[in-house]
Symmetry: C2
Subunit: 418 residues, 2 copies
């Protein structure tokens, strides 16, 4: 992490950004630089993150996750798409302007190191650096487009509530022949708890889970339906035999408009090769919920706890750990930044970008909206099929120059907007 932060600060100095700093937080440091030389023009706060997801299961990587390898049209590495490809593209766009006499606008550049673990220290950082981060436009380079030739702009980001539930049975693993059948098995209880979290129509059964969910306007629904990505194309990208989800909603609606609940991990007892005949002492599940406007993560967590409290049998103990709790964000489609981004993408791709509802979570967007009063523009070039968060993460190289061009044009378009 420190080497990543150091690389960024040297790069920012190379670009002749000023006041470049590696600023420590309670967690991983923030890297900051600025160039504020065009009075009267807007200031863009460029955001990225230099942390990445864990690499496991590492055995499934074709080439080592930290030895970037080009195969065909892709560069493979952990972080290639989330988000070092986009990060290098936006820095290259800044470099292009600087080498040609300087930017047409003012910029502040901020990379954090905790996006993949919930940006826990960012809120406090923004709160205590409001003056330093003052801007007219917030550009996040951590974003996706819909397809290699389908530029899009997300005007929402889902929130997330990431919990870990542990169920405890006997004090220690017990012999399944001498105890099994006469005591509760915590792995069985955990499975029962998880199994009942969805009903047969694919709806989440947690109390009050859907109460605050925003319904889409007819215009938004029509815009979403215009997305030129068929269910069949999405199925192929996902690599599954058939799609599945909440009844009554299209795939794009399931991914953008609807909240979801996913099991991210399960662990209990003996999982090595072969057999071990035990009643395990405990079982653990990592469970995350993607939240949509206007769900309140605190209320959803309370509903989750209430569900477990009511449903867990008295034969076991349980606890819940919380790792992330981030609300969803809605952004204006009519901001200065959105107009500029739309123009830039159309020029680089030759196609008007579509507006979409983002499925992922970017905590900084809500923080900046709340603390700095600025809506984000999420313009990045990762693709859904890039294996984000998975083995063999990759970045589509033919789009790299389009990415750089888009960012160059974005800064130019901003300069004309005021």
């Amino acid at each position: 992490m420190l080497r990543g932060a150091d690389w960024l600060s040297r790069k920012m100095n190379e670009l002749s950004l000023e006041h470049v700093e590696v600023i420590s937080t309670s967690g991983h440091p923030v890297v900051y630089g600025e160039w504020l030389k065009v009075p009267g023009k807007p200031t863009v706060l460029v955001y990225g993150h230099y942390d990445v997801q864990p690499v496991d299961p590492v055995a499934e990587w074709v080439s080592p996750p930290f030895a970037p390898t080009i195969r065909g049209d892709y560069i493979f590495a952990r972080g290639a798409s989330d988000m070092k490809g986009n990060g290098v593209a936006v820095l290259s766009a800044l470099e292009a302007w600087m080498r040609n006499g300087g930017l047409p606008i003012n910029v502040r550049v901020l990379f954090e190191g905790e996006e993949e673990i919930g940006s826990h220290n960012l809120e406090k950082f923004v709160e205590s650096h409001k003056e330093k981060l003052k801007c007219d436009v917030f550009l996040s380079a951590d974003a996706l487009i819909t397809g290699p030739n389908l530029p899009s702009l997300a005007y929402s980001a889902r929130g997330i509530l990431f919990l870990e539930v542990s169920v405890y049975g006997p004090k220690t693993d017990l012999h399944s022949g001498e105890f099994g059948g006469a005591i509760e098995n915590p792995a069985k209880v955990l499975c029962e708890l998880i199994a009942a979290m969805h009903d047969s129509s694919g709806r989440v059964t947690l109390p009050r889970f859907y109460e605050q969910v925003r319904t889409l306007s007819g215009e938004e629904r029509a815009e979403l339906a215009r997305t030129p990505l068929s269910e069949e194309e999405f199925r192929q990208i996902a690599g599954v035999s058939q799609l599945d989800g909440e009844d009554g909603f299209s795939t794009l609606e399931r991914l953008g408009v609807r909240p979801t609940l996913e099991v991210n991990g399960l662990s209990s007892g003996f999982t090595g090769e072969g057999e071990k005949n035990i009643v395990p002492a405990r079982a653990m599940a990592k469970i995350s919920m993607r939240l949509v406007p206007h769900q309140d993560p605190k209320a959803i967590e309370e509903g989750f706890r209430e569900y477990i409290r009511k449903k867990a049998p008295p034969t076991v103990r349980w606890d819940i750990k919380k790792f992330s709790s981030v609300p969803a964000v809605l952004m204006s489609r009519n901001s200065l930044g959105m107009h500029a981004a739309s123009k830039a993408l159309e020029a680089a791709f030759g196609v008007k970008p579509i507006f979409r509802l983002g499925g992922g979570t970017l905590p900084v967007v809500g923080v900046v909206q709340e603390k700095l009063g600025v809506d984000a523009v999420m313009m990045g070039f990762s693709l859904p099929e890039d294996n984000l968060h998975a083995p063999n993460e990759r970045y589509y190289l033919p789009n790299f120059s389009r990415a750089v061009e888009s960012y160059i044009r974005f800064f130019e378009a901003i300069s004309h907007e005021r």
Copy 2:
């Protein structure tokens, strides 16, 4: 494993057993020795195993699993109770006789190295060494008593069917924000499959699971009810807040008479510290069933497969691996060996042993019954609270001399039986 086999063969030579051999199999070797010097007297085949269970979760051991450590009345080590304590006791009993002029009967001694993984090569070994293993009495030293002062003799051993079920979703882990909610989650499916394997009365729901289950005679049920172990004592040994199991049966019935289904392990997705927001590519459960007379492991496996086939949704693929498939065994309570064991235990403990239904599985018992036509005597001194198959396995040292005495008296009692 080879060092264990070597230690045994040297020990058998020390005891002046003859024809001591380490005999290779397709798996771990069998160690054999014999002393056949008392024509006209019965021959006892003494059985033990020198393999042990895996040690994980190794972090929970107070002292290292392979550094035997005495604390209080116990020696702690992996295998202390299952079954090196009993193994050393029975070898010590042989030693006592040999140092005092020789045994009053004939013995053959056999230790295998694959009991904990289902004794897969033992059936073939016994089949091809029928002459070498010919005996009147089969003594397994791998057995439990009911309590420190409650000697007991099991006249049944449950069978086992150990399976591993894997459920496959997308080809690779996928980003839960970009795909979650629009594709099936294999961890969720696995939980649904497991959750429905028991109904609300604690009965297993697999097709035809109970069809062949033997019902107990009134006399057996009365004998079982006489066991001086209260539900409260058992609850404390298990270390749980309350007992649980199939409705309509006592704890002792649940453990001996009734078949059970237990989840022994669960694994899916990300299980490290913190969070990783994915839809996992697959999920795995280790599931074992303890079988009772007269359930047929093949028929039970067929029922299990039918259950998964009917219940798994078409959105996932799945497969099932089999690790063990052993039928349950019933033994006569009126054999030569049972009489001798009963006398020996009463003399050593000062209490008449009770007959009990064994909860565990000992594949050799069925093999010997079928191939050699001899019922087993299961006389060992492990205790239910010894943490068998669990961290901090231990052996209760005050019973070690009683164990040696019981085996000494057993060989003597056998010599008087004919």
